[in-house]
Amino acid sequence: MANLHLQTVDLIKRFGGLTATDKLSLEIERGELHAIIGPNGAGKTTLIAQLTGELAPDSGRIHFDGEDITDLPVHTRSGRGLARSFQITNIMPDFTSLENVALAIQAHAGHSYRFWKNARKDTRLTEPAQGFIDMVGIGDRAHVQATNLSHGEQRQLEIAMALATKPSMLLLDEPMAGTGPDESARMVDLLRRLKESHTILLIEHDMDVVFALADRITVLVYGRAIASGKPEEIRVNPEVKAAYLGDQDGGHA
């Protein structure tokens, strides 16, 4: 536990009678790829929303880079180096791919009370933005309006936007959801590269991907972590087998 990047302590989130996060204590080390798996409705997305600040936990604390960030607003956490991609594609639909990414860069390039100079032609924004969309593999789609991208391309744009905020840690919520086999393969490739430079919390239903990429895995069921450990430990954990892995389709609808 020498070098904790992100830690939650007894995190609890309830929606009415439903406990979506149940006294969750998670420890993610710097540089690791930590996968979170669990059936639909286990509370994976709810956890990410609390980490980024979109949802406030009912109790418990969140520490990032050794500091308590539980009460910080969303944009401040982004400034600290925490970035997420969304399970349900979440982009600025009436901006082009390049503009979407350029906005993410702009958000971290000082304040935006600049009223006069044309930002669309500002190479300090557009050049790095082009770099990120090249990196995720949609470089030739730079000037296409985001709403007109294919589903897979939008997933890649999501990642480019997250990367453009220069995060130290990425929270990726099912980055391959709904993409075809080719696009999935490219995404796995990308994740493998990103792993070298970022701490990653990955939510993913595809067990092959998870076991291929993860350094550690936490299994979430009804908001509780029923197991946490190295892939080989998780694979043989009887409780996990019973609750999740035994379920042939992985609980995915």
């Binding site: 969303v74 100079k117 936007m161 453009a164 905020t165």
Partner: protein
């Protein structure tokens, strides 16, 4: 289509520039006044469009800022004569007052209203503007609901004389040009992209690190100031200020102009203001119940030209329309 639009816009600006000589030549000075009103209301609509079209904040209270700007002229003129405070007749006092007081009220109203969204935002901005309307109705010293007639137009130390219709017209025209250019710069600046991003997807903007609230608030203040400037001009144009300038129906007129011309386009509000006043002028000369015909006409525009008049001439940008 795109080229046609540019030709038409240049044609519109050129014709507007020629209104005073043509009206003088036709010996119809009334037209100078009518088109002056168009230009001033276009400035107000440009201000509203910044928050409504580019920022996605449908304010139903922007006439309040027009009224505030106008009252600064009325109040200045009043005290300069009634109390002998000469400097209050000066435009160098009245214009900054219009700007700062409308900025101040936009800051307060925005800071509270922008915590709400959608219909609540519409209702709360409406409520604030009606509050200011009733304040104006209640202030006896400034004429209560009768309003105030100006003793004279704003004085600019002999540098600028607003007393002829033509001079007033060109002041309006130049101000309109400045506002159009300023908004053009703003919407393409970092600030402009930030508020447009917040319109497009506020949640995502926060996730990538934008504190959206202060940017939207700043946009609201700038927009209020542009309307305050329109108010300053309107008071001088009509030699009169009254609470009616702040009435909610005036805010509604501004919204109609923006929607009619094309929301979120640079020239939409100008086109909308010109169309609005022309239709009003023509219909009201034919029938007194002109509003009966204006309503359905608007509905047709909204139904068949979702981008307003300007939208009809634009190449389609979005596949989903």
């Amino acid at each position: 289509m795109a080229r046609l639009r540019i030709v038409l816009l240049i044609g519109l600006l050129a014709s507007l520039a020629l209104v005073p000589p043509i009206a003088t030549w036709l010996d119809e000075p009334f037209y100078i006044v009518l088109f002056s009103r168009m230009l001033i209301l276009a400035i107000g609509a440009i201000g509203l469009n910044l928050v409504m079209g580019y920022g996605g904040m449908v304010s139903f209270g922007h006439a309040a800022f027009v009224g505030i700007g106008a009252y600064m002229v009325g109040i200045g003129s009043f005290h300069s004569i009634e109390d002998g405070i000469d400097w209050m007749a000066s435009g160098f006092f009245q214009l900054p007052a219009a700007i700062f007081v409308s900025a101040f009220f936009a800051l307060i109203i925005g800071a509270i209203s922008l915590r709400t969204k959608g219909v609540y935002f519409i209702m709360i901005t409406l409520a604030f503007s009606q509050m200011l309307y009733f304040v104006a109705v209640g202030v006896e010293i400034y004429g209560a609901d009768d309003g105030l007639s100006l003793y004279g137009r704003s004085e600019f130390a002999g540098l600028l004389d607003l007393n002829s219709d033509s001079a007033m017209y060109y002041v309006n025209f130049v101000t309109l040009g400045i506002c159009l250019y300023a908004v053009h710069r703003i919407i393409n600046s970092r600030f402009g992209l930030a508020i447009q991003g917040a319109r497009s997807n506020e949640r995502r903007m926060q996730a990538i690190g934008f504190p959206t609230f202060p940017y939207r608030l700043a946009g609201f203040v700038i927009s209020g100031v542009i309307c305050g400037i329109a108010g300053f001009l309107l008071a001088n144009q009509t030699d009169f200020v009254s609470p009616d300038m702040m009435h909610w129906t005036r805010s509604g007129d501004l919204i109609i102009m923006v929607v009619l011309g094309g929301m979120g386009t640079l020239f939409g509000p100008l086109v909308g203001a010109v169309a609005f006043l022309l239709v009003e002028e023509i219909l009201s000369s034919i029938t007194i119940s002109w509003q009966l015909y204006f309503g359905p006409l608007l509905i047709l525009v909204v139904l068949f030209a979702r981008g307003g008049i300007d939208g009809l001439l634009r190449p389609r940008q979005r596949a989903d329309g």
